[in-house]
């Protein structure tokens, strides 16, 4: 094993340091706090980029810390990690810019930014975790650092939502702990190994099946699989940057990433398929996709509609993972990034609308395009990406998912994809129509000015990013290219149709 | 019937009696008396143990009992001081009944006539 390279540790510790320093800065020091936050985000992005290049050239970065005999904290920059951590550190930088602008007139900003950085530190921890125990540790810390953000407003409603959120996530933690202990009991190790390490223990197949559903159930709460998604739409009461970062990048992705890790690096996709559990997961994901889209149709509040769309979109990843075939895996894994980038744009725009024009309901969005042309164009890019119109990133995912399902001999997945695309269109297009083609009601404030710079820049950046990842999918260092690399490492026999 | 069995039986009986007294009666003075009876029971048993043959008694139990007696007297003195303070403060001579009367005191704020 190479020596303990401190890079992975640095990626996790930088946000912790900035967070704790921000905690002890008193409320008034706005300038210093912003500088600190931004520099922390930039530094962490830099570290991740260095590791990205390194891993691309087959270099390994690992950091081990013995907690107890036979139990260690293990951070490793492997292929999966390098897909998720650039996503979270990059979007963290963008969201910090957005949050600085957005939180202008809020109280307790010191507490907000402190927990904000801690939250990202735990997401980095989740991304770089090398074994299931480290993953579990950061997964639990993610709950603790996001709770104060969800209840930041401090009024009765957000506290009620906070308690609901805790109930779901701490319950999930308990379920995960049982699964984790069971695996450790059976096999003695919880190390993530490419192609999974449970195959030789196939004689305990019944308990392995139970373990699988314990783990997927535990991660499913954060990945908002159907019965466990209750907290996501309710958590829209949190301020916009919180719902943007949390529900597009950190929390939901951690759940999905957990499922990916379990299927690939704990069970191994071929062994999981042999157990027959991936089929059940595929059905579960499909049900969630359809359910999420249907519920989104009925929502009038913009953020709740986006929340339900997140519920369905995240299940694409689960679906891709569940269809045991290299191409489907490719689709699922790459969607991890695409959905993140696209959804965060939509949340930024929703935040802008709420902030500048105090619009929360879709019915009030008539003719908003004239008022906020740039924000609304970013919103349109995001919406199209969600539906999966060709040049956008969303299309690539659906393309590979369809291809993969055909190749894996499960044609019914195509039907699900078609149905969900139609539903996406059904709940996004009317919004676009209302935004661009409806005359604005006279009540809107006449001198419509664009959102302040801090609030405008982030959606534009992420919107463009969504477009670019779609257009130049084949270029090196794009999420698609990286997913190909992952799939090659994941599937030993490695045959793969050309990108 | 050697001395050991005789006094051992007495010690066992006294211990059981003391335990019963401590658990069954509410009055603090009776509880403290019961504790002393229990203490003496255990010490009786210990010294009886040291008495295997009349010529040579084992001095270690004696030292233990001496230490025990001093500890018991300290604990009794402290317990009595606490009981007297409780009586002075709230006019109670036990722990539970008084809580009802105590609540009556707080809620109705009437000036409870001196108990004695």
């Amino acid at each position: 094993m190479t020596s303990n390279s401190l890079l992975p540790l640095a990626a996790v510790l930088i946000p912790v340091v900035t967070g704790s320093v921000v905690f002890f800065l008193d409320e008034g020091r706005r300038g210093l706090r912003t500088v600190l936050n931004l520099s922390g985000a930039a530094l962490s992005l830099l570290v991740v980029m260095v590791m990205l290049v390194g891993v691309f050239q087959e270099q390994a970065y690992a950091f081990r810390w013995p907690l107890l005999a036979g139990l260690e904290l293990y951070l490793e920059a492997d292929a999966f990690a390098m897909l998720f951590s650039p996503l979270s550190s990059g979007l963290w930088l963008v969201t910090t810019v957005y949050a600085v602008g957005y939180m202008e007139h809020y109280r307790n900003r010191r507490r907000f930014f402190g927990f904000f950085s801690l939250c990202v530190a735990t997401t980095m921890g989740v991304a770089l975790a090398g074994n299931l125990l480290t993953f579990f540790i950061f997964y639990e810390l993610l709950t603790l650092s996001t709770y104060p953000l969800v209840v930041h407003r401090g009024d009765a409603r957000s506290l009620a939502v906070g308690t609901l959120y805790l109930r779901y996530t701490v319950g999930a933690g308990a379920v995960l702990l049982v699964g984790l202990i069971w695996i450790h009991g059976l096999t003695g190790t919880v190390e993530f190994t490419e192609g999974g390490f449970l195959a030789p223990f196939h004689e305990h197949d019944t308990s392995l099946r139970i373990i699988f559903f314990l783990l997927v159930g535990g991660f499913g709460v954060k990945a908002a699989l159907v019965p466990l998604h209750g907290w996501l739409p309710m958590a829209m009461v949190a301020p916009a940057p919180v719902s943007a970062l949390l529900h597009a990048v950190a929390v939901v992705k951690a759940g999905a990433f957990g499922i990916v890790r379990v299927v690939y690096d704990v069970f191994g996709v071929t062994f999981a398929h042999g157990l027959g559990v991936t089929g059940v997961l595929a059905v579960w994901a499909a049900v969630t996709i359809l359910y999420g889209s249907l519920r989104a149709l009925a929502q009038d509040d913009l953020k709740r509609r986006l929340a339900y769309s997140t519920v369905s979109q995240v299940s694409y990843i689960a679906l891709g993972v569940a269809i045991a075939g290299p191409v489907a895996t490719l689709g699922g894994v790459v969607h991890l990034v695409h959905q993140g980038v696209t959804k965060i744009t939509l949340f930024f725009c929703a935040g802008n609308l709420a902030e500048t024009l105090h619009i929360h309901k879709i019915s009030e969005m008539d003719g908003v395009g004239r008022r906020l042309p740039l924000t609304m164009s970013a919103f349109t890019l995001g919406a199209l990406g969600m539906i999966g119109i060709p040049p956008m990133a969303g299309f690539i995912t659906k393309w590979y998912l369809g291809l993969g399902s055909l190749e894996a001999g499960q044609p019914w997945v195509i039907l699900v994809l078609l149905a969900s695309t139609l539903l996406n269109a059904a709940y996004f297009l009317p919004v676009l129509h209302r935004v661009w083609f409806r005359p604005p009601p006279h009540t809107l404030p006449t001198p419509a000015r664009e959102a302040p710079l801090f609030l405008l820049l982030p959606p534009l950046i992420t919107g463009l990013l969504a477009l670019l990842t779609g257009l130049f999918a084949a270029a090196p260092f794009t999420p698609l290219e990286w997913s190909v690399l992952i799939t090659e490492r994941e599937y030993p026999h490695g045959y793969l149709p050309g990108p | 019937m050697s001395q050991l069995t005789l006094y051992g039986l007495a010690a066992a009986a006294l211990f059981a009696l003391g335990l019963y007294g401590l658990l069954a009666y509410a009055h603090l003075l009776r509880k403290i008396l019961a504790v002393n009876v229990m203490g003496n029971a255990v010490f009786l048993f210990l010294v009886a143990l040291g008495r295997t043959d009349p010529q040579q008694t084992n001095p270690v139990p004696h030292a233990m009992v001496l230490t025990g007696i001093v500890i018991t007297v300290s604990a009794t003195a402290f317990a009595l001081a606490l009981a007297r303070r409780l009586h002075r403060e709230v006019g109670a001579v036990d722990l539970d009944a008084q809580s009802r009367r105590g609540e009556a005191l707080d809620s109705t704020q009437t000036e409870e006539s001196g108990k004695s």
Binding site: - | A13, Y20, A24, N40, Q56, V60, A97
Partner: protein, 312 residues
Amino acid sequence: MTATLFDALLALLLVWLGWRTVVSTNLFNAVVLFVIFGLLMVLCWARLGAPDVALAEAAIGAGLTAALLLEAYRDLTGNDPHHVHDVEDSPLRWPLAALCGLLFLGLVATGWQLAPPTELGETVHARVAESGVENPVTAVLLNFRGYDTLLEVAVLMLALLGVWATNGPHATLGSRQTLDPDSALIDAMVRLLVPMAALVCSYLLWAGAHAPGGAFQAGAVLAGAGVLLHLAERLQPLGTASTSSRALVTVGLFVFVAVACYPLVYGGRLLAYPDGQTKALIFLVEAALTVSIAHSLTLMFSGGRAFQRGRR
């Protein structure tokens, strides 16, 4: 044969007294029965060949505890002998009685044919010579198991601090005197008893090395004299602790800890008295302990923090 008969009678009487103490609802009877129980215990210790313990029981168990109980009794029941308290006892008395009966039977069943090994007794007797004192009990108490006694002195001091903590600085001390302090009888009694008690105390202290006696018994006797002086209002308890009183309280523990740590200076073990001076050191410790114990026990009886001579 008569000896076992006597023992059997004594044991039976003890159990009966114990039962009556615990069960009687009239508190005054209970306290008096307990005092008699204490005195009979003294007889038991004598029968079981434990003179030191008999002395200690007489001075502390039957003497001081009785005084404390009577003082508390007067405080709690307003001093009328026919007082019957209206406190109802715990409802589940009978199951408790059954439980304690069961415990008794269990103890009897296990301890029926006890044959305790005796090698510890022999080793102690064999090595008493090395301990620097002849009386084996004092040897065990202050030398072999000196650590127990060290902590026990701390317990005594803790109890005193506890009494101080409960009573607080301005607690109403001094019980309501029923007897006339100036009467000649009291005066004569005090003038006779107190010096005698002092004499007995110093004898016990000195004899402790080679005969039954020792610091605790001496201290208790001196405390008895102190209680007498307090009751006869020759010593007034004060609310605030004067430095002399505090010094008196702590001198016992200080000297003992100092003597215990003295060998550490030469790299020896804690409480390992250097060879030559064991007897002298033990006597020094015992003297300091006696003073401390007497002062503490009297303060505990009176509830005050210091004493001042003369009447109120």
